[in-house]
Symmetry: C2
């Protein structure tokens, strides 16, 4: 008997009919002889509707109360899902984050899991029941208060339960068929990946692929949880996200031939800020990024141009989420005389393309091939950054889709048939 953790996103439980459909799938998994634990998100747009209400009564809702409010969403979906399963003749029991032992710190709205003690979930399984756990929510022991895990929290709930219960697999159900070599809405010949390493998945997620949240992948990687990303709308096999025992081997130590490139991710959510005319003396970069850090912004790529010896000045560019740009511009402007730069440039018309693949580590020439492909497609590169298994480049925003298609083709990723494209993203 296997223990399977399944996660269903809001689009998979958007109304009574879809809840009944998901209930059938869960019962089928149980009847196939598996123990089943389910983490479920709030129905469809419930969370957004509750947020709307909150902003109607208070422009800046109190974080503790906002968490109390939002957790009502999963409470509704999990209770309905448990009822629907009971109605199919199978014992089911729903548990809040607190009842399921999802212990977090006290950071309302973005709490981090500090311990998982799913005693009641285990009891329910031992009694033959299917356990339904509210995604996205936790409980702080110190304050006794309810918390939420932030964006993608239900994925994290599922992975954390899978780790704590030593599950055989954690299935992430969404409204797409799995992880693709590129966004099928941009690259019509994008292929579904059968397998991808958690390291690659992490880079893909960090580079704009929306099918899984970084935090959940990180958690899965750290705790050795194997994920299966698949659609709740069909029975197709999805994508296995696995943790290699060592490079070139799969999660069971069996040798595998790793493709050099897993996929191409793209991201239109970042802006670029350039600090122009920075004195080229030691400590200036540190000074600038301390100011940026204090404003709470998350920096992504950084490029410092070679100093023009004649002037003794240099330019420093960095990318960051568009939503953080204004705060950073303000913070830097305040400290302008202190730092001694001349002007700030703000560019929110950039796009980022990332090529990700574990095989890249042992394969020289990938960058050259990437730059050639972009050059041949007539696309200018504005910034470059690399990790061991990723190369990212910044282009003009309006050239990004062309860039993704050109690179996808150049690395031989195009499939035979057109990928099926869905409307939503399964969040």
């Amino acid at each position: 008997m296997s223990l399977i953790v399944q996660k269903y996103g809001g689009s998979s439980v958007s109304d009574a009919e879809s809840i009944k459909r998901v209930a059938k799938r869960i019962v089928a998994t149980r009847r196939a002889g598996n123990d089943v634990v389910v983490a479920v998100s709030a129905m469809g747009d419930t969370t957004d509707d509750l947020l709307d209400l909150a902003h109607q009564v208070a422009p800046i809702p109190e974080p503790r109360e906002l968490d109390m409010l939002l957790t009502a969403g999963e409470r509704i979906s999990m209770a309905l899902l448990a009822m629907a399963i009971e109605n199919l003749g199978h014992d089911a029991r729903s548990f809040t984050g607190s009842q399921a032992g999802m212990i977090t710190d006290a950071q309302h709205g973005a709490a981090r899991i500090v311990d998982v003690t799913p005693v009641r979930v285990r009891e329910a399984l031992d009694e033959g029941a299917i356990a339904i756990v509210a995604g996205f929510q936790g409980f702080n022991r110190g304050t006794g208060d309810i918390t939420t895990l932030g964006r993608g929290g239900s994925d994290t709930t599922a992975v954390a339960l899978a780790a704590a219960l030593d599950a055989d697999i954690c299935e992430i159900y969404t409204d797409v068929d799995g992880v693709f070599t590129a966004d099928p809405r941009v690259v019509h010949r994008a292929r579904k990946l059968d397998r991808v390493t958690s390291e690659e998945m992490l880079e893909l997620a960090a580079s704009g692929a929306k099918v899984l949240y970084i935090r959940a992948v990180e958690y899965a990687r750290r705790h050795g949880v194997t994920l299966h990303v698949r659609s709740s709308f069909n029975n197709n096999e999805g994508t296995i996200v696995y943790n290699p025992t060592e490079p070139g081997r799969d999660e069971n130590g069996v040798p595998v031939e790793e493709p050099i490139i897993a996929g191409v991710a793209h991201d239109l959510t970042e802006a670029k800020i350039t600090v122009v005319g920075v004195p080229d003396i030691p400590g200036k970069a540190a000074q600038i990024f301390n100011i940026v850090a204090k404003s709470g912004a998350n920096i992504d790529m950084i490029v410092q141009n070679v100093s023009a010896a004649a002037t003794g000045l240099t330019d420093i560019s960095f990318t960051l989420p568009k939503s953080d740009a204004q705060a950073v511009l303000t913070a830097l402007t305040v400290e302008r005389d202190q730092v001694g730069f001349s002007t700030l440039q703000h560019d929110d018309q950039i796009g980022k393309l990332s090529l990700v693949g574990a095989g890249m580590r042992t394969n020289v020439g990938v960058s050259a091939q990437l730059f050639t492909a972009l050059f041949e497609a007539g696309i200018n590169i504005e910034m470059i950054s690399t990790s061991e298994i990723r190369i990212s480049v910044v282009t003009r925003a309006d050239m990004l889709n062309d860039a993704v298609r050109a690179v996808h083709s150049a690395f031989g990723l195009d499939g035979e048939a057109e990928a099926v494209v869905y409307a939503g993203t399964g969040r």
Copy 2:
């Protein structure tokens, strides 16, 4: 400094605007120098909407899961109310039934309070915060599960908190101005009562007055909690429901002149069943009402006609909620030969009028005056039952409103002006 518990029903918090209005009223009470604890119901039709959803996924929802589902309603309203108060610059903290220490038995859907330990509510008050508690919900220690208190549960939550915290008063906010001498929609000259004893309120509630639920009044009476039933839509004084220290004295032992009659209640929700041709031998009534009790029905009035000596047979009539009638008819039919009656009659066109007043106890002639008033209005009486402070009569359903008006007038209850009539009932 007084401690005031306030309860707001669903119609008082039906949307963001009304939540903001209620928040202002709560803050005003706090700023007047009182400690404030609030019990709040789910917004408007939330509970009905959730019930609809439940029945869409399962014809007979599992009771544990139904409670889990329905408690989402108060979670939403209480968090929004706390945010709205914080937004007015006052500290507020919301608590679920479990967090507020509302300990119940494990009877899902109709749990009874077994203990109230509002430690966190008290802490919040000590720290100067306004405490917002989810009405209607509790927590069972044995199972660790969430429960609900059943119909009118938020009133009960408020009263139980007032008792446990030794509050000075428990204000029940609704959409009518208080308790009236009769339903203002039937008797246009019905008067709002300034004061009524909890004993009278209990009889009025049990006789069909909808402004307060019996269980809450019972709880208030048993624990000596003074209630103030008033409108959340204006600042008028409502009706004080008090516990006399002894007959003829108020809650503080001050002598009061009690009116003979507090009011006239009416009820169209009952049906009458007559068991015809019962052998007039000892034990037959017990046999019949054992069968009725087993079917789970709540009997109200019982009348046994004098036996016709010649036949040795008698008829037994009783009233019960219309919704229970079919189950009782079936149960009796099954046992017909065993009991030995001839036929069953089912009448769902009856109405019940009840005259309630603590002064009735020491005042002879009230029944005679009641029967005279009904006779003069041309209304036939089909059944009669009495308690120490109540007389109830059954009439034809279509004569009930006329009967209520006639009796209201005959006992001098008519006010000078027409009562303001509202659409809802504040549930």
